[in-house]
Amino acid sequence: MAVAFTEIQETIRMVQMESLDIRTVTMGISLRDCADSDFKKVQENVYNKITTYAANLKPVAEQVEKEYGIPIINKRISITPIAEILGNHTPKEAVELAKTLDQAAKKVGVDFIGGFSALVHKGITKGDQTLLDALPEALSVTERVCASVSIGTTRTGINMDAVKQLGTIIKETAENTKDNSSIGCAKFVAFCNPVEDNPFMAGAFHGAGEGEAVLSVGVSGPGVVLNALKRYPDVDLGEVSDIIKKTAFKITRAGELLGREVAKRLDVPFGIMDLSLAPTNAMNDSVAEILEEIGLERVGTHGTIAALALMNDAVKKGGAMASSYVGGLSGAFIPVSEDNGMIKGIEDNSLTLSKLEAMTCVCSVGLDMIALTGDVSPETLSAIIADEAAIGMINKKTTAVRVIPVIGKTEGDTVEFGGLLGRAPVMGVNPFSSAKMIQRGGRIPAPLQALIN
């Protein structure tokens, strides 16, 4: 059946006026065969493998983008969690390996490489500890390397010893990069229930269940959803959900088509399609504004969670029908610094840290790109991570924490991260201490929800 004139116009409008784009094509590469007792050899293996497998990622993606006329914004790489190949190497060597990854990313022209990671949700191996020790330096001496650490899952509970360490690691990273708005922390995520096939940064890694190489796609489009809703200002919430669902469906179909084409041309299997509404600082490309369009005067007010839950669910439903392999985080991201509506919500004192925490119960990830006052204590950072992890653990969902304690800034200041990362108002934290709880350490046992066999 021929495509109608109005449908062609709709697609063109989505791309040219409503910021429809493929947010990322991410190539997952297994590095397990790169391990070696000789460190030089590890570096060489890792560099060669990445630059060979991903050599054509950027040119191929750009060619497909041109032919189909839908922009592919980012080309990225995710790799096996590095802790798994560290073996007996030292933290110093781990930092060197991060530099190698940085160079490999530069060589193939990708802006981020994710997977300087460790999975320590139950216990910490030698290699994991080496990676944790290397993190603050690795994050500050590299530009494109993203790191993540899994500290809890529904099946294992929360490893509070690791959570305790992360508070210190984040604080140290902030200090190391204080001349640059503590930007090192923007490349680090703490996860509960991480997914192995997430194509979005900074939390992407190539999980243990994945194949040799795989191509996954992350599609976005808050702008498209927002504009679709604007055309129906007075419909009831059931119809709002339906409009979001239909829009998500179309966006996902476009993403899957392009993703499969890129995968075919690179001769790697197509992994998953992650449909996540990920905002950018572009005009109207905001998740917060969708919530406001649904009927909130300002994001953060009463009703925000209900609106977000409706939207997140509708996005999933539309996406699930449109693609055979939906995966990753699929839902809605609520990063503060990358969303003009969220920034405004905070500036107008409508949106608070507690509300953001509550919102993470019903959206796809967690506290994301939030600037905190520079004098926050490591224990408080750990406690923030523990709270988020508990939400994820009990609700059997992914939650994450990517917060940036901006050294030298206090509540009410604004910090510019630049580029994709945007800008953020600095938020204060609860002044009362959580240190005693964090000092206790140990593990929070797996919840009743885990006992499902």
């Binding site: 495509v3 709709e10 697609t11 006329g69």
Partner: protein, 90 residues
């Protein structure tokens, strides 16, 4: 198999748009299968379905269009038809 692309032209209405755009297509040996045009509040919108043999030709075509885009202040885009099919047809 026949491969088709959609060319869309947007811009301020003026003399010679269709002629110039179609000349480029003719010079690139591309057959126009369908054409539709409207004026929306002074804005000229034309959408054409064209027959293309292989996608390598598209690069050349885009270069040629670039010249008219600048000369007449238009936005011209070319997209393979599949993308519309997959977005709007199940």
């Amino acid at each position: 198999m026949q491969k088709r692309a959609v060319v869309s032209v947007l811009g301020k209405d003026q003399v010679g748009i269709i002629s110039k755009v179609t000349t480029v297509l003719a010079n690139n040996h591309m057959n126009i299968l369908d054409i539709s045009q409207t004026i929306l509040q002074d804005f000229f919108t034309m959408i054409m379905l064209i027959d293309i043999k292989d996608t390598a030709d598209l690069d050349h075509l885009m270069k040629d269009f670039k010249v008219i885009e600048e000369e007449l202040d238009l936005t011209i885009s070319i997209q393979l038809e599949d993308v519309f099919k997959s977005m709007h047809r199940v």
